[in-house]
């Protein structure tokens, strides 16, 4: 029993050195003054936090939240049926799961670039449609909110499928039999039994998609072309071009706060519904 406590020690050490310390630094920076060539200077101030309430930035937070909710919603609508298909297939389950995880075999950056080649004006889709004479001018498929949403859904879909699959897989198959036996048609069984019982998986998947979607940086940067600025891009901007480390730190802290509050509220509501 005493030995068991030490099992946590490596991760505790790791988290303390590589998570808590940087976080403390970011928190400290957010209360300092911006240096002329980047970096930070004395004195301590709350100015960065006051600037957070600028309407320009508020609209960015709002856009990010809407985008993250949309991405979570699409992942759920696409991922649930897929998970249900895999969990209920009599064989080849492992093959299907491998296919879900297949994208992880390549870097996320490379995969996002691949979307660029597909979606841009001279990309595969536009060229093909033009060659077939379906369209005259290329469709504007890149550098807009739609492209960013597509990239987010594409990137985080497996995080929705896997926890839902795990929950469905553990479900007693006789429950669906019992529902049918009591007169429930397949859709009634789905909505009255399967989905309610799958709630823990749906919640886990939603949280796993929502959090990285809210802080996404690479996808809006590449597929949004800088036109779709989300919180992640705002942070990156402050540390690079704007050279305003304290403000970038303050935005990071507020992003963390947003995630914490939103996820907490969501989990609280859902756990009340479960009880």
């Amino acid at each position: 029993m005493n030995l068991r406590r030490w099992f946590l020690f490596p991760s505790w050490l790791w988290m303390a050195a590589l998570f808590a310390t940087p976080l403390a630094i970011v928190l400290a920076y957010s209360f300092l003054t911006r240096g002329v060539y980047g970096g930070i200077e004395q004195p301590w101030t709350v100015e960065s936090y006051q600037r957070l309430f600028d309407p320009l930035y508020l609209s960015i937070y709002l856009r990010s939240i809407v985008m993250a909710i949309a991405s979570t919603g699409f992942c759920l609508v696409l991922g649930f049926p897929a998970a249900l298909f895999i969990a209920s297939s009599p064989q080849h389950k492992n093959l299907y799961l491998q296919l879900v995880m297949l994208p992880f075999w390549t870097s996320f950056l490379v995969r996002t670039y691949a979307w660029l080649f597909l979606l841009r004006d001279t990309g595969l889709i536009n060229s093909a449609l033009q060659a077939m004479g379906i369209i005259e001018n290329p469709l504007p498929m890149l550098y807009n909110d739609g492209a960013v949403l597509l990239g987010l859904v594409y990137g985080y879909l497996p995080f929705m499928v896997l926890p839902i699959y795990a929950t469905l897989e553990r479900m007693d198959p006789s429950l669906a039999d019992a529902a049918a036996d009591l007169g429930a048609r397949p859709l009634a069984t789905l909505f009255r039994v399967t989905i309610p019982l799958c709630k823990p998986g749906i919640i886990a998947g939603s949280v796993l998609v929502f959090i990285p979607s809210l802080g996404a940086y690479l996808t809006p940067d590449l597929l949004g072309g800088g036109r779709t600025v989300l919180i992640g891009n705002l942070v990156q901007n402050q540390f690079t071009t704007a050279r305003d480390w304290p403000f970038g730190s303050a935005v990071s802290i507020i992003l963390m706060g947003l995630v914490t509050v939103l996820v907490w509220a969501f989990l609280r509501r859902e756990s009340e519904n479960l009880a």
Binding site: D172, S174, L175, D177, A178, A179, A180, D181, L182, G183, A184, R185, A188, R192, V193, P196, L197, K199, L274
Partner: protein
């Protein structure tokens, strides 16, 4: 006789496994019928074929004289009490019971639920979730959930398996009384011969996908048609190829003239509470048991004895 449920030469094969190999049964309306057999004999598959969870490879399921092979489970007026009960964990006892009524759009939900709660003696527990009910209470919810729909046949798949032995015996009596009261045909699947014998009006013994014998409990117990049936329904002393139930086997120190007997030596005797079981090593090397009253201490290990029985109690098989 009016048969509510008939199976005609029902066959179910899975890849590499022949679960049911031509089962024909006729189940009278309003009876308590048991399908008794060892695990893996195909009895649960037979039940699933009747409920509609599986499609037969060949053969027919007739409900009220009508072939229902191609009807989905939700289109058949039969209901199943599952071995695991399969209660919906996210719903309360009442919501579980209402589930079928609501799906079938039946009226009078409140009255029906109230009546069935009384029938299964669960009144007062209806707002609890299954996780907060005892094993026995869960079984009652499962029964109520099916009975409230007044199915033509209630299918019970090893319903006692999850209960502790004491509760099991009590539930046997209760289930039988419940069946009489509601008049619904019960088809019980079990591997427990005591259960089948004590509750059924009629029972069918199943082995390796086939029906071995059909009859009343008394008929099949006293006149089993096969060695398998004899063995499965209770203990048998096999003495030189003839089967005699232990309770029909007497033990004496001297051969009696008018009955059959066989010599042996007492090996040991075991106190069983209500009686003593004497294990006898027969002269031909076989073993047999006989039961004597618990006050009897006349049979000591090493005693030369005779096992005796009446010719009428002999079970002979080809």
């Amino acid at each position: 006789m009016n048969f509510i449920l008939e199976l005609r030469d029902l066959v179910k094969h899975y890849p590499g496994h022949r679960a049911v190999e031509g089962v024909s049964l006729s189940i009278p309306q309003g009876s308590f019928y048991s399908l008794l057999g060892p695990s893996g004999c195909g009895k649960t598959t037979t039940l699933r074929l009747i409920a509609g969870f599986e499609d037969p490879t060949s053969g027919d399921v007739l409900l009220n004289g009508e072939i229902v092979n191609h009807r989905k489970p939700y289109e058949r007026n039969v209901s199943t009490v599952f071995q695991s009960y399969a209660l919906f964990p996210h719903l309360t006892a009442r919501q579980n019971i209402e589930f079928g009524l609501r799906r079938q759009g039946l009226s009078d939900v409140d009255r029906r639920v109230r009546e069935v709660l009384e029938l299964v003696r669960l009144t007062g527990k209806e707002s609890r979730h299954p996780a907060r009910l005892s094993g026995g209470e869960r079984q009652r919810v499962a029964l109520a959930r099916s009975l409230v729909l007044r199915p033509e046949v209630l299918l019970l798949d090893e319903p006692m398996a999850a209960l502790d032995p004491k509760l099991r015996k009590q539930m046997r009596l209760e289930l039988k009384a419940m069946q009489r009261r509601v008049g619904i045909t019960f088809l019980l699947v079990t591997h427990d011969q005591e259960e089948a014998l004590s509750m059924s009006d009629q029972l069918a013994i199943m082995n390796a996908g086939r029906i071995e014998q059909v009859g009343s409990p008394k008929e099949v117990y006293l006149h089993p048609r096969s060695r398998f049936a004899a063995d499965f329904l209770g203990a048998v002393n096999w003495i030189a190829g003839i089967g005699i139930r232990p309770e029909a086997t007497r033990i004496t120190h001297a051969a009696e003239g008018e009955v059959r007997s066989y010599p042996g030596v007492v090996e040991n005797s075991t106190f069983l509470g209500d009686r003593i079981q004497v294990l006898v090593h027969l002269a031909n090397g076989e073993q047999a048991v006989a039961q004597v009253s618990r006050n009897s201490s006349v049979f000591q290990p090493g005693d030369a004895v005779y096992l005796c029985w009446n010719a009428a109690d002999e079970m002979r098989f080809a």
